[in-house]
Amino acid sequence: MQFMLLFSRQGKLRLQKWYVPLSDKEKKKITRELVQTVLARKPKMCSFLEWRDLKIVYKRYASLYFCCAIEDQDNELITLEIIHRYVELLDKYFGSVCELDIIFNFEKAYFILDEFLLGGEVQETSKKNVLKAIEQADLLQEKTENIYHSKHFHWCKKAY
């Protein structure tokens, strides 16, 4: 996989992960172009499209689009399930994940992704093992400032 982008229906980028070296300028250009292309597609259309010399695999979950760029020989359907497994991981971790969780805890979204995919390849497909790695990290952290988090959780549900 060359990169993964998460963006909202309004075209706001929520997460970007690049597995090939590109300049910031190129990243911005690619993002702009792809967000536009994907948002222009109608709901029942197929989840794959050719773009430059890459294949784009995307899927919409509620207000968020998950979009992966893979190479010519890569398998489209399994990439679609990479997206789904990532969504499941986020969901399990946050508990009914929504876009706001990813906005407010963007760093967690990146950490979870790193446990699941590394260098653009699937590292660990077991949900249990990925979450175990993340939870270990949570246990290691100091127990300060937890109060606020509950409040934020409340907002999140409301907005959803």
Binding site: E26, R52, L77, E81, E107, G119, E121, K128, L140
Partner: protein, 956 residues
Amino acid sequence: MPAVSKGDGMRGLAVFISDIRNCKSKEAEIKRINKELANIRSKFKGDKALDGYSKKKYVCKLLFIFLLGHDIDFGHMEAVNLLSSNKYTEKQIGYLFISVLVNSNSELIRLINNAIKNDLASRNPTFMCLALHCIANVGSREMGEAFAADIPRILVAGDSMDSVKQSAALCLLRLYKASPDLVPMGEWTARVVHLLNDQHMGVVTAAVSLITCLCKKNPDDFKTCISLAVSRLSRIVSSASTDLQDYTYYFVPAPWLSVKLLRLLQCYPPPEDAAVKGRLVECLETVLNKAQEPPKSKKVQHSNAKNAILLETISLIIHYDSEPNLLVRACNQLGQFLQHRETNLRYLALESMCTLASSEFSHEAVKTHIDTVINALKTERDVSVRQRAADLLYAMCDRSNAKQIVSEMLRYLETADYAIREEIVLKVAILAEKYAVDYSWYVDTILNLIRIAGDYVSEEVWYRVLQIVTNRDDVQGYAAKTVFEALQAPACHENMVKVGGYILGEFGNLIAGDPRSSPPVQFSLLHSKFHLCSVATRALLLSTYIKFINLFPETKATIQGVLRAGSQLRNADVELQQRAVEYLTLSSVASTDVLATVLEEMPPFPERESSILAKLKRKKGPGAASALDDGRRDPSSNDINGGVEPTPSTVSTPSPSADLLGLRAAPPPAAPPAPTAAGNLLVDVFSDGPAAQPSLGPTPEEAFLSPGPEDIGPPIPEADELLNKFVCKNNGVLFENQLLQIGVKSEFRQNLGRMYLFYGNKTSVQFQNFSPTVVHPGDLQTQLAVQTKRVAAQVDGGAQVQQVLNIECLRDFLTPPLLSVRFRYGGATQSLTLKLPVTINKFFQPTEMAAQDFFQRWKQLSLPLQEAQKIFKANHPMDAEVTKAKLLGFGSALLDNVDPNPENFVGAGIIQTKALQVGCLLRLEPNAQAQMYRLTLRTSKEPVSRHLCELLAQQF
């Protein structure tokens, strides 16, 4: 799982994020961000040492700001500090910041590497994983240099935790992809292969990716992976849907691992070992069988995972291309998918069948689905699916179904999406030509193409139809009749006029017997279109008219009247005016015989591969990427370094000794040598000497020399200087000494050029055995075609002979061809080698564009290699008018009102070669005070930018 217990909620961060979200405008957001940046800066600079938590929070805020799309120029140091924290979350945030915002600051890199090194050595698996993730995320060469040697050790160490092994495998993969030279192969590779046997499925999953990548470069070293992969795959495929516990995904056992294993096997030919092969075939059959079983779940995830494996299995079967039974089963399976209700599956089935169509075993089976595919082309609602259907029709086409497929594609073309029309046109043109049994069908098809989608019919397509008609006399009469009919339509596309004009000019006589298409009728039909056409088409029609004068003498008076009209003779367009004047004179002065010779029917074209195919291949890659791609496919043809090889024959074959007194240095024996020539004499004596030659090649270009059919000396020392004089002009004296003067007159249009060389004998004695030849050093032969006519072998004293060169630029080139002139004068052979003034910029076609377009294109060409820049001192007085003239002479259009600074010059043009076009943008910024220029070139092809920049920089 309640989110309350999650994370380490940083209150300040959450407040900041919600502030940003509440901003009503972009300005408000920027204001809020600037406020925050100021706050963080003051905290970082403050006297009070920050605790780890605050540092983490601020670094995290900076990261958030960066990810919003704003620039961040500080905080790196604080992030690096976090790396050495003992608290996991602080370390984690530090690493995240570093991964996202790497800075090539060397001091920082050293610190980062140090922190990573400590974590790798810490034996704490969570810290080790964080460090490995960071290396994998950054993946830079510096990281590779620092860690590529350590990671294999961690990967195969007996005491590494599973999670560490997984990260190490993929980290190594990333480094290997970025800089393969840094990853040393060795004893560890064998142990990596054995990770395929690991008990931990996650470790296997990560290792397969690494092995798949490594084995592509070293297939033999990893050969043992085949049997291991087969047995692993076999165990997964035959396991029950719940055996693998958490590695089962919606009742499908280990789908990701299965797909990866099938990918790995596609790196190799079918297994040689019969037992392994048997087991593998069994696996493949099991997968195909399972596809027929009822689904274990209605969830789309179940069917996606299952079909992902199925399609990868089919890819492997296609890759082997040796099991007819499996190929046909694969085809049937895909056939079912063609009618599946899931759009995704229909898309993939069409895509996968395209490759099946090219196998001899399954081609026939694919063809049975033709009706379904045609239906998909007509009814699919998603353009990307329709595109796949068109691709598949193209792939399954053969002589038996060509007529049906071509007519369906033509029908589709009428309503096709604009984005894919040109591609469909090319495909139809290729199929019609390839499978034409009778050429009247071919002619009909192409004319239909023009009628339906004239705008999308490129030159290649209509040139090709003319070539084919010219070469096949059985179709000429039919073609003439058909175009004549087509032209009668009240509105016909300009491309139709072009084809019609050309064909009637050549073969109009074949239908002239019919009073309905008598010569005057043909002429007035064509001429009725004349005024609506572009200059290029009108020029073509004028040639048709003069051909008519020859074919049909009865039209002569009418046509002469047309040519004589003021609108032609005084046409503002030079080309039209010239044709009108010349044709009119030709028709009046030449006798019928001469006219018949001059205007004879065109000779058959040499047979060669259709240029349309090349065009289609180019179309597949979009825009600039395709130009780059072209370069990649054929690196040796452009890369000056790649081509430099001291050719042994130059060194080992000494020139005949007569050449030591080569003309370039030798004045006529009687005359005393001029002072400058005397200096050269010395150089030349050495330069022709076999031993001295290699050391005398000062530039890479000169080392590029390879001997032509004859023995060609190196160009004279001032050849480059002489060449430079002609970069911005086409006419002038190329060379002169006491014996000989060589003048040049040349003109270039598109990718073609014609050059006249005038050789003047300045002495009173005859030159004998006079033979000028053009030599293509190195790869130039594939880049530039130069046809020369022989000239008389004797040049009398005081006389001048002329030589005509026809030049065609096939693709971009860097070195000019050489002109070698030899003759005998006064008993000695004189020889001289010059650089022919043909440089890539001659094939420039100026392009006018508005400022907005210019900047947009400029931005598109922003890859570092696409730009070449030079800053240099002015060698001539800095006069704006002279500069302008030079830039125009260089060939690009000069664009006014583009650069905000009126002192600067901005230009644009397209270099036309037969194989590809290279868009070029240039900008020249004079600095009168410093007497300096800065020149920037951007083109879609890297060597071209550099080369143009060098050529042009020498002109000011």
